[in-house]
């Protein structure tokens, strides 16, 4: 656990970067520090490994004041990932990753072995080990940066806007990768970003800081989105808070109807007289094909010859209510098709079912 105990950073010219910060970073969780520029988030992060020393207050690492530890020793025990990766351009990838093991005096072979293991772990081809940083893309460099931070297996990882210099697609995949790694490794991670969406996506808990280094709110993402502490936090969270909050609501309570699907081989005559205006058509493997309007059915033949209306689907039990809502907006029938992990249809969530679920969410926000 990392404890900020009344930490203040004041510069000689009187600027206060961090003001009496009290914060606990629980072991094994991702705590995100987020805020506009000038809110002291990076300063706070760098006070943990003493790249910046606090003016007042203490920072405790599992109860030990970091000021009592010699900085290089302290830093070798804490992983650090910097914006733009900060790889050493003159060292091969494998040696970049092995940096901290070398500093700790491991023998070369063991350090390199460990580095190779980590390259694989962060999803890089071991064939890249012998290359130099300039031969890698920005996203690959950032993966190397993460591998380097993990090399000596530190319990704590500090990440300073690590994904902000890569394009949105790569950023999303790096974020997924981090969550996957964290599920395996359970590190205590302090993650700094100015991007609230990134904060909400990655954080177990999010600390919103305001300019001048004040903690505005500390909460888990659903709480933050549902109940911002004040106008500053609400404004910083931006638009669509309600919709975004749905990402954290499981679709488990969503009522699914199994009676709205028909196989594509069905003869139209069998469907005449059906009370439902729309039916979801599935193929022989139960995968969704589209919607058919019962009123527009031709005189004869099977469903195979008919032009189907588009559909939206979500992975039941894996996606959130946001995914289900998105799926209903993609089909003219208003129904969201729920599929399982292998893409087979499990049922249809109608508008009415979604309404019930959304009502429960809105009720939860009120409570």
């Amino acid at each position: 656990m990392i404890t900020f105990d009344g930490v203040t950073k004041r510069y000689p010219d009187g600027t206060v970067a961090v003001d009496n910060l009290r914060l606990e970073v629980p072991t094994g969780e991702i705590t995100v520090l987020v805020g506009p520029s000038g809110c002291g988030k990076t300063t706070s992060l760098r006070m943990i490994n003493r790249m910046i020393d606090a003016t007042e207050g203490r920072i405790l690492l599992d109860g030990v004041d970091v000021k009592t530890i010699d900085p290089p020793t302290l830093r070798r025990g804490i992983g650090y990932v910097i914006q733009q990766a900060g790889l050493f351009p003159h060292r091969k990838i494998v040696d970049n990753v092995a940096t901290v093991p070398y500093l700790l005096g491991w023998d070369r072979r063991k350090a390199r072995g460990r580095a190779m293991e980590l390259l694989e772990r962060v999803g890089l081809d071991p064939g890249m080990a012998g290359r130099y940083p300039f031969q890698l893309s920005g996203g690959q460099q950032q993966r190397v940066g993460v591998a380097r931070a993990l090399a000596a297996d530190p319990p704590v990882l500090l990440m300073d806007e690590p994904f902000s210099a890569v394009d949105p697609v790569v950023r999303a995949s790096l974020q997924e990768e981090l969550l996957r790694l964290q599920a395996e490794l359970n590190k205590t991670i302090v993650f700094v970003t100015h991007d609230i969406d990134e904060a909400v996506k990655l954080g177990d808990r999010v600390a919103v800081l305001r300019v001048g280094g004040h903690l505005a709110q500390l909460a888990d993402p659903p709480t933050l989105l549902a109940r911002p502490a004040d106008d500053f936090v609400a404004e910083f969270l931006g638009r669509d808070r309600g919709i975004r909050r749905l990402s954290f609501v499981s679709d488990e309570g969503l009522r699914l109807r199994a009676d709205l699907t028909v196989p594509v081989s069905t003869d139209v005559s069998a469907l005449r007289g059906t009370a439902e205006p729309w039916l979801a058509v599935v193929d022989a493997d139960d995968r969704p094909l589209g919607w058919v309007a019962v009123g527009d059915l031709p005189e004869s033949g099977t469903l195979a010859g008919i032009r189907l209306a588009p559909y939206g689907s979500f992975v039941s039990g894996r996606d959130s209510l946001r995914g289900a809502l998105d799926a209903t907006l993609l089909s003219p029938s208003g129904g969201a098709i729920a599929v399982d992990d292998s893409g087979r249809v499990r049922g249809v969530a109608t508008r009415e079912a979604l309404d019930e679920a959304l009502d429960r969410v809105a009720g939860g926000a009120r409570a």
Binding site: N49, M51, P71, P72, T73, L74, R75, R76, Y80, I82, Q83, Q84, A85, G86, L87, F88, P89, H90, R91, T99, V100, L103, Y132, P133, F134, Q135, G145, R148, L158
Partner: protein
């Protein structure tokens, strides 16, 4: 009467041992100042980066020396270091090398990207180790580029020393000019150019070998 040829090859053959001695003298007088200049420029450059206020006065002082005509400096030095000695030639050349190399060292060290320096700190490098393992190696391409300029200009400048009696291959220019005999002049020019070319090529090779990581960045 047969016209005097541009080059009398037999003269070269007869005087080869003497030419060789001049060449050796030239190499020593040109390159020792570059090496010594580099050894002095490294600590001064480091100091210039560490204490920024020191940098401009240092460069200013060295540039003033650089602006002095070499011949004048040779003449001024004669009472101190003697006429026709290697030292008289090498002392000013050392300053000239420094004038090129101090900014090269400073530029090299400041070419280390801030995020690289920061990450070295965050990994737990001690300041000395960071300098030796991260900052100086990254400065190498820029320093080597400066070294190429310093070496080639030093090789060219040694010749001026001939006017104070010690100019390596420069002696051949004086000799040829005094006798209105072109062969030594041409031999001197060709050898100086070849020497400069070889030294430059060796430095480029050293750069390729030392900094394979810099090849794609256009620093060669």
């Amino acid at each position: 009467m047969r016209e005097e040829p541009l080059i009398r090859w037999d003269w070269i053959g007869r005087n080869w041992p003497g030419i060789q001695a001049l060449l050796e003298d030239h190499v020593v007088m040109a390159l020792v100042p570059v090496v010594v200049g580099l050894l002095i420029a490294l600590p001064l450059g480091l100091a210039g980066v560490r204490w920024r206020r020191l940098y401009q006065p240092t460069v200013g002082a060295v540039n003033v020396i650089y602006s002095l005509p070499s011949l004048a400096v040779f003449i001024v030095l004669i009472p101190v270091t003697g006429l026709a000695t290697r030292t008289t030639v090498m002392v000013p050349l050392t300053f000239y090398a420094m004038a090129v190399l101090i900014p090269a060292v400073v530029d090299g060290l400041t070419s280390v990207p801030d995020h690289v320096r920061q990450s070295a700190v965050a990994m737990g490098f001690t300041p000395l180790r960071r300098l030796l393992r991260v900052e100086l190696p990254i400065a190498v391409p820029v320093v080597l580029a400066g070294l190429r300029v310093a070496a080639v200009s030093s090789i060219s400048l040694v010749s001026v020393g001939a006017l104070v009696g010690r100019g390596g291959l420069g002696y051949l220019f004086i000799d040829g000019w005094q006798r209105q005999f072109y062969t030594p002049i041409i031999v001197g020019i060709v050898l100086v150019v070849i020497l400069a070319g070889i030294v430059d090529a060796l430095l480029v090779l050293a750069q390729r070998l030392l900094t394979p990581w810099a090849r794609a960045r256009g620093t060669s």
